[in-house]
């Protein structure tokens, strides 16, 4: 793994829908974040091998390796407690409990707002507004 943490904060976006990444990139890059996109769990694993991310935003239902499985993998393969924000359409207690058990830092139920994503990213990466 690369030992240097990039500046500005590097965020991994895992979502099957690339248009969501594109939209987030427009907004979050203006806030000083760098974004990398992964369309599925396997791709996300590869990204984590090559980079150290300040935070990860993952959709729960991603192909090949879902968000919870990915988080479990991340927690078992990385010493650093990289914050993971998981977005899910499923809001039932079972899904939330599974996310908590896997080590998800912040669970966001869809539909999510941009403000919520931004607020949690700033909080988790230690960036002060402005």
């Amino acid at each position: 793994m690369n030992n240097t943490t990039p500046e500005p904060p590097l965020i991994l976006i895992i979502d099957e829908d690339q248009s969501f990444f594109s939209v987030l990139q427009i907004g979050l890059s203006s806030e000083g974040f760098d974004l990398i996109y992964a369309g599925n769990g396997k791709h996300a694993q590869a990204c984590c091998e090559d980079h150290i991310f300040s935070a990860i935003i993952a959709e729960s239902s991603i192909p090949e390796l879902d968000g919870i499985q990915f988080t479990q993998w991340l927690r078992s393969h990385s010493d650093k407690p990289i914050p993971v924000i998981m977005m899910s359409s499923r809001t039932d207690a079972e899904t939330r409990e599974a996310a908590d058990a896997a080590g998800v830092t912040q669970f966001l139920a869809k539909p999510v707002s941009y403000e919520a994503i931004l607020m949690h990213l700033r909080k988790l990466t230690g960036i002060i507004d402005g």
């Binding site: 829908d17 248009s19 969501f20 594109s22 939209v23 987030l24 427009i26 907004g27 203006s30 959709e59 239902s61 977005m87 359409s89 499923r90 039932d92 869809k110 539909p111 999510v112 707002s113 941009y114 403000e115 994503i117």
Partner: protein, 898 residues
């Protein structure tokens, strides 16, 4: 005084007889009125007054605290520890408690020690003559454990109850202990074994059925017992169901014996008691009335006027008692009128009024208490129930689903009383349901109605009568009963009603949708051999000998309290009898007896235990359970069976969820269009919601980003494109959902749209060719290279072609050939399907394809018949020829789309 003159013109002159009946009667009237208005008449003396008043005399007036009834029945599943815990809990709420004990109770001294002497009354449930004190009775557990607590003998005088179910109880009470257990075991195993397990014992709350909440005992014993639930009410702990009573998490079924005890006690608490009239007073009054009548009647002589007078008096008393009793008019007014009737009715009136008054007072006491506890609402008068139900049904019907509707009533006094009040409501509801089913089947929608008329069938898990409509192509009847006569009393008329509805279905929808076949085949495979023959034969025999059966049922109905309703059904059945018989003879009626668990097991292909567990979740936790329906007939169709609770009322103030559960709704949905069965979880609409949520997320985030930042032209265009893309996607989901709700299956079949016929035939021909090779049949396909679109339904055509080709394959022998040719001509596209096989006489083929031909065997050529007739809605035509030894020749003409 004119009323007292005779028709002979002879004035009534009191002095003429000295100690005259007139003066006696007049003053007796005044006395009786006073007694009535002061609640002093012996209204309760015919049931439970003697001992219960004595027992409850300890309770202070205006005491609105709960009464805790604890029955230390040896068979109760409430342990002593749990009972003690609950007693402690209720003591904190200031409850009083009355303990019914059994000789063989295994609750020990610790339980009795948990009471305080001031509030407890120990009531031995079973007593025996005292060996040491002649004329006294003792109870062993009291002697052992209840030392120091105030003891009262007797148990609410239940053996004195003389009508309705109490007769039954009285009979049972004379059985020995072994018989008791056998009966209970029998009832338990036969009736509750389907879903309930040993842990499902409920704490019953007194009050009118349908209004008072009930709790699972486990939940209550965990402490989930709020003060407002028990305040001023009787709380029954450890009381098992009586022999005529099923324990239930839903209070739609009254609590018979418990109910009566509770209401009686609560009535007494609410000061609705009437002080006992001393026996000597009653005796003197009766003797005086007899004397008065003896003196008075001869003077009146036998004349039309005197007879009319007596008839009037008797009728007045009787009718006033009945009216007051059943319509719950103001209690004092009832007393006044009844008193007047007593006074003026003479001996006969007196006798009648005594009987009527006992019933009236009992009803009034109970109903008054019911009003008190249910905020002056009767459960069966709740219009919201039927409105809600109707809306519910109407919402579900268009969704191409099977619906199970249940309605319960009972023969218990309280519920019968309420039921009479709601007879019109019930009739309206039934009418609306018939209308609904009628409308639904005009649209070829499935309807499944259930109905039952006895409290022994639990509305939650029994699903007593399931009438599957055209969607399944089968009839499913499921009835559970604790009554050996139930089949004779209820099953037959209900089955008849089912057939009446079925007749409607058949009349309106003679073509069973092709999509019914997969489920039909599964159900048929599993149940036809075992069940259809047995139940179906019984029903058919019943139909054939209906005259005799009706007569027998009529006599049976006399013995049950819900005779009004059954008679109503009965009358309707008689009216439809003739048509029904004709229909049954000409149709293939298949009736399956199955429980809800069996139904779920059958359709889902899962184990019985798992199906039972799923239904338990529905009943207990109000969860929605969805299972994928394995479809072995057609791999191209995906179905989901969803079992979910039917919520009667969402506006309850106290969240006791089982209280609101009115039944289980089974929804059978075709989700082929989504083709993602593995991803489906929960209900279909949850899945749709998930998809839409993602779109909303992207749209929301994109909109936020667009408004937060000054975007470059390229970014703005990207945002706009993304938003548009997801709006389109969400709209598509919503549109598909709407289409699905409107009846995806039927719309696909019935609605024609431009279709690439060549592409469709090309895709299907591969499978046909493989099949032909396997059967050593030559398949000759002759289609043009280019052709206009046809106007048809894709789903319908696939079905039609499959049926047609299957038919031809069956006709062909190895080495034979099947010809399929397509060409267009003018406005039409012609398709020719022919075989050179065995064939049948042309008349037989025409019979197969003729809807009105009653000689056609029901199943023979059914699929082909349906498939060919599906062409008609598209504006197409078909024709068929057959000749023995030369095979078949079918021609289909479809409209071109230009």
């Amino acid at each position: 005084m004119g009323l007292l003159s005779t028709t002979q013109g002879r004035r009534f002159r009191p002095n003429e007889w000295g100690w005259s009946g007139f003066i006696l009667t007049f003053w007796l009237t005044i006395i009786l009125l006073v007694l009535e208005l002061t609640n002093a008449l012996p209204a309760f003396d015919s049931f439970c007054y003697d001992r219960s008043v004595d027992l409850l005399g300890r309770l202070k007036k205006n005491d609105n605290r709960s009464i805790l009834l604890i029955e230390s029945h040896p068979s109760t599943s409430v342990t002593e520890r749990q009972a003690i815990s609950l007693v402690e809990k209720l003591k904190a709420y200031g409850a009083r408690y009355i303990v019914f004990t059994y000789l063989d109770s295994d609750w020990g001294p610790e339980f009795y020690a948990s009471f305080s002497k001031d509030d407890a009354v120990i009531l031995p449930r079973e007593i025996f003559p005292s060996p040491t004190k002649p004329g006294h009775f003792e109870s062993q557990p009291l002697l052992k454990h209840a030392d120091g607590l105030p003891l009262k003998w007797g148990h609410l005088g239940m053996p004195k109850l003389e009508y309705g179910s109490f007769k039954q109880f009285q009979t049972y009470s004379h059985l020995d202990d072994g018989d008791h257990k056998n009966l209970e075991s029998l009832v338990y195993e036969e009736l509750t074994g389907e879903i309930l397990d040993d842990e499902t014992v409920f704490i019953e709350f007194s009050g009118p059925p349908g209004r008072l909440p009930q709790l699972f005992s486990k939940e209550a014993l965990r402490g989930g017992l709020s003060p407002q639930l028990v305040k001023g009410r009787c709380v029954m702990i450890g009381q098992l169901h009586e022999y005529e009573y099923l324990k239930t998490p839903v209070s739609a079924i009254p609590m018979s014996l418990l109910e009566y005890r509770g209401n009686t006690l609560a009535s007494l608490l609410a000061q609705r008691t009437i002080s006992p009239t001393p026996i000597i007073v009653r005796f003197v009054v009766t003797i005086m009335l007899i004397l008065a009548s003896v003196i008075l009647f001869p003077q009146l002589r036998i004349s039309w006027s005197s007879i009319l007078f007596i008839v009037f008096a008797v009728g007045f008393v009787g009718l006033s008692g009945i009216c007051l009793g059943y319509y719950r008019i103001w209690l004092p007014l009832g007393h006044l009128l009844a008193g007047l009737g007593l006074a003026w009715g003479g001996i006969l009136g007196m006798q009648l009024s005594r009987n009527e008054r006992s019933l009236t007072q009992l009803s009034l006491a109970a109903s008054g208490n019911a009003r008190f506890q249910s905020d002056k609402k009767q459960f069966c008068q709740d219009e919201d129930f039927f409105n809600h139900l109707t809306q519910f049904v109407l919402q579900l019907l268009p969704a191409n689903r099977m619906i199970i509707f249940e309605r319960s009533t009972t023969n218990e006094p309280l519920a019968r009383y309420s039921f009479r009040c709601s007879k019109d409501d019930y009739a309206d509801a039934m009418e609306s349901l018939v209308t609904i089913s009628d409308e639904a089947h005009l649209q070829r929608k499935p309807v499944c109605l259930t109905n039952f008329f006895k409290n022994s069938v639990h509305p939650c898990y029994a699903c007593p009568l399931v009438l599957a409509g055209s969607r399944l192509g089968t009839w499913v009847v499921e009835i559970k009963s604790d009554d050996t006569d139930f089949d004779e009393k209820i099953v037959a008329p209900l089955a008849d009603l089912a057939q009446e509805i079925g007749e409607l279905l058949v009349q309106k929808n003679s073509i069973v949708p092709e999509g019914a076949r997969p489920i039909t085949s599964r159900i048929a495979r599993l149940f036809v051999q075992d069940l259809a023959e047995r139940v179906g034969t019984q029903l058919l025999e019943l139909m054939e000998h209906n005259e005799h059966e009706y007569g027998r049922m009529e006599s049976l109905f006399d013995t049950i309290s819900s005779a009004t309703i059954v008679y109503d059904l009965f009358g309707r059945l008689l009216q439809i009898n003739e048509q029904m018989s004709l229909w049954i003879q000409s149709r293939d009626l298949r009736v399956f007896e199955m429980t809800a668990v069996e139904f779920l097991e059958c359709v889902s292909g899962e184990s019985s235990a798992l199906s039972r567990e799923r239904l338990l979740n529905v009943v207990r936790s109000l969860e929605t359970v969805s299972v994928a329906v394995t479809d072995e007939f057609s791999k191209n169709q995906d179905l989901i069976l969803t079992a979910r609770p039917l919520i009667l009322s969402e506006s309850t103030q106290i969240d006791i969820r089982p209280f609101n559960l009115g039944g289980i709704v089974f929804e059978l949905t075709d989700v082929t269009v989504f083709n993602q069965m593995s991803l489906l979880r929960g209900t279909l609409f949850e899945q749709l919601g998930n998809l839409v949520r993602h779109d909303l997320s992207v749209i929301g985030v994109a909109s936020d980003v667009a408004t937060h930042y000054n975007l470059s032209e390229g970014d703005a265009a990207l945002i706009q494109q993304t938003v548009q893309q997801h709006i389109t996607h969400a709209a598509k989901i919503v549109g598909e959902s709407e289409e699905f709700i409107e009846g995806m299956f039927t719309s696909d079949v019935d609605k024609a749209y431009p279709l690439d016929l060549l592409d469709l035939i090309s895709s299907l021909s591969e499978g046909w060719a493989e099949h032909a090779t396997a059967k050593e049949i030559t398949l000759n396909l002759n289609t043009p290279s280019v052709m206009n679109y046809a106007f048809a339904s894709h789903v319908g055509l696939v079905s039609l072609f499959s049926e047609m080709v299957s038919f031809l394959f069956e006709d062909s022998h190895p080495g034979g050939a099947i010809e399929i040719a397509v060409h267009e001509d003018g406005y039409w596209i012609h398709l020719h399907f022919s075989s050179h096989g065995y064939g049948i006489p042309d008349d037989h083929l025409k019979s197969l394809l003729d809807e009105t031909d009653s000689t056609r065997l029901p199943e023979k050529g059914r699929g082909l018949f349906q498939a060919l007739h599906s062409i008609e809605p598209w504006g197409g035509t078909f024709s068929g020829l057959s000749e023995v030894g030369k095979g078949y020749n079918f021609t289909i003409e479809l409209r071109q789309f230009r």
